[in-house]
Amino acid sequence: MDQFILQILNGLDKGSAYALIALGLTLIFGTLGVVNFAHGALFMLGAFVAVTVSNLLTLSHKVIDETRTDFLGNPLQVDVPYLYDLFGQATGDTIIDWAVPISIVVAIPIMVCIGFIMERGLIKHFYKRPHADQILVTFGLAIVIQEIVKYFYGANPIPTPAPEAFIGSFDFGVILGFDPNQIIYPYWRLVYFFFSVIIIGAVFAFLQFTTFGMVVRAGMADRETVGILGIDIDKRFTIMFGIAAAVAGLAGVMYAPINSPNYHMGMDFLVLSFVVVVVGGMGSLPGAVAAGFLLGILESFASMSQVIDILPGINQIIIYLVAIIILLTRPRGLMGRKGVMEE
């Protein structure tokens, strides 16, 4: 039983990352009709915003400490962050410690800008081109983005810890009447889950309850008519692209403490998130979210050792297997509309 609950928690946690990425992908697809293979790269860029912010916060000058030596036996040059000079050591440390939450604030404008630039500079020219061309050009873009990141940050993962306050884990079991230590879950992962629920809720509320959202939804359903009504739908769609990029970026920022970011984490998530989108149904926002959580939970159960013992290798292929089965039995995914992406 405790195992079961643990894996559901894991699934929800994994699923929240999948759902956030898939949500962004679907926003872009649903509004602009563009299949964006560079979406994983946006997720990765978000994580590297966190890395960059923490690098900037720890920007330091060298002070020679005569009492210690470096690896060559010379006097050690100690890095003293400028923040220490500005705020004193204690406050400086606290600020550095909170680098990831700070990055969230920084990431939103940056990612929206990147989204605008991508849409205006590249994607715009591909609305009328076949989906295959869209896939290919964004695939090329993903390669370029990831190579640029690698050039500046190297190939090894870069540790980006969560604030001290969120390190450690929460004992769920005690609340539910289990013994201590039976069901414990890291704070930061819980934060990630709630964060993604908030973001998903915000995106839905935005589309549902604002005039802007209403127009965008109308545009998704019938772009031409909305255009005829004299509404500049293109501009709104550009904004939606920015929002989708920001969602992917925020997912990345928050993910940085869970796994140290590296340049190919986008590609790792890309295939998966496409599977999620397709399982959910191309163009369906609730479908993308539901499929994200569903696949997360399934993946967690498949990696239980009791399951692997019966079906060796199932943990390697479960996601793809589910995708194949869903696509064959429910051709448009769980909640897809008819005629989307089938030409």
């Binding site: 896939i135 090329g140 295939v271 599977v275 390697q316 793809y320 995708a323 194949i324 696509l327 064959l328």
Partner: protein
Amino acid sequence: MLGLEKKDFRLLLIVIGLTMFAPFILNPFPEGAEMAQFNAGYPDLMQRFVIFGIFAIGFNILFGLTGYLSFGHAAFLGAGSYGAVWMFKLLSMNVLPAIAISVIIAGLFSLLIGFISLRRSGIYFSILTLAFAQMSFALAYSVLTPITGGETGLQLALDDPRIFGASQTATGNIPVPSLFGLEMRSSFEWEVGAWLFTFNAGYYLAAAFMIFAFYMSIRIFRSPFGMMLRAIKSNQTRMSYTGLNARPYTLAAFVISGMYAGLAGGLMASMDPLAGAERMQWTASGEVVLMTILGGAGTLIGPVLGAGMIKYFENIFSKINETILHSWFAFLPDGLENFVVAMIYPFIGKGWHLTLGIVFMLVVIFLPGGLVQGGQKIAALFRRNKPEDAKPNATEPAE
């Protein structure tokens, strides 16, 4: 000639000429010269050119004609290689049975996957093929290690129970793949002045297969079957309204292209008897997509050019390291030299992926017809003054 129109026959002759004289064409610089590192006329790379050419030609039969974008073709190449290596291990070191089995295995495998995946179209088809390929890769890498060799790849050993032929050579080494005794890696070298040209047995075998594959692809493009496939690409709905069922045709195209991939896999194993699981990874499938698009999807010669270009990047471009760059720009003043090297370095050597990504994006954006279209545009510039009748040729999709 050979059932081909004059224009196609000329193209075939050009391809034959290019492949036969590749050892000369690819080695334009004398040995020892500064530019010699741009020479590509050594056996391994020449073999890769034609083998990936076959792979891309096959992929183009599916993607170029029907428009179905498969992201899982590498799985067939991988399956073919495994089949071939197992033939070397169990039957004989002769390459013909190995190549035959690899084509058969890839054909069966693609029949199975195609049968399932082609129930869907558009991006759903792409995701299905991607899912199958990723499953094959994941399993080959881990659970199937006894059959596939896992991470290390499937390779020959000194104690293989070979039915025809010895397990070891007289000197206690593993025998090498051969065609009735003609070793695939044996080469004949010809020195002309400062130039050195290498004629490799394996290359010519692979080249012969590629010419055959190319010829078959022309025939398919020009056949009623090819017309049917193109009809599927342009409007499948209309086709079904006329009472035609598209699926048998797409499935046939899928299996044919799968067999091409298997042939490529078998040849790869014949040139170098090792089959690695990463041959099946989705990025490997992505590579053949890149090749086809880069060269020009739907054109006959494009995929071969694309394959050549990517392999040239991978093998020649990636070798240029910082030291070499510095030696090139040594004539500049020091500060300027460092600046120039620093500007260029991110794009070559280990940065070749970046250059590839940029080139690929440029091609997709500006030359949807690939390099072939680029060539035609340039040709059209020169032909501008000619009479009107030259025009249709230039605007027609390149083939």
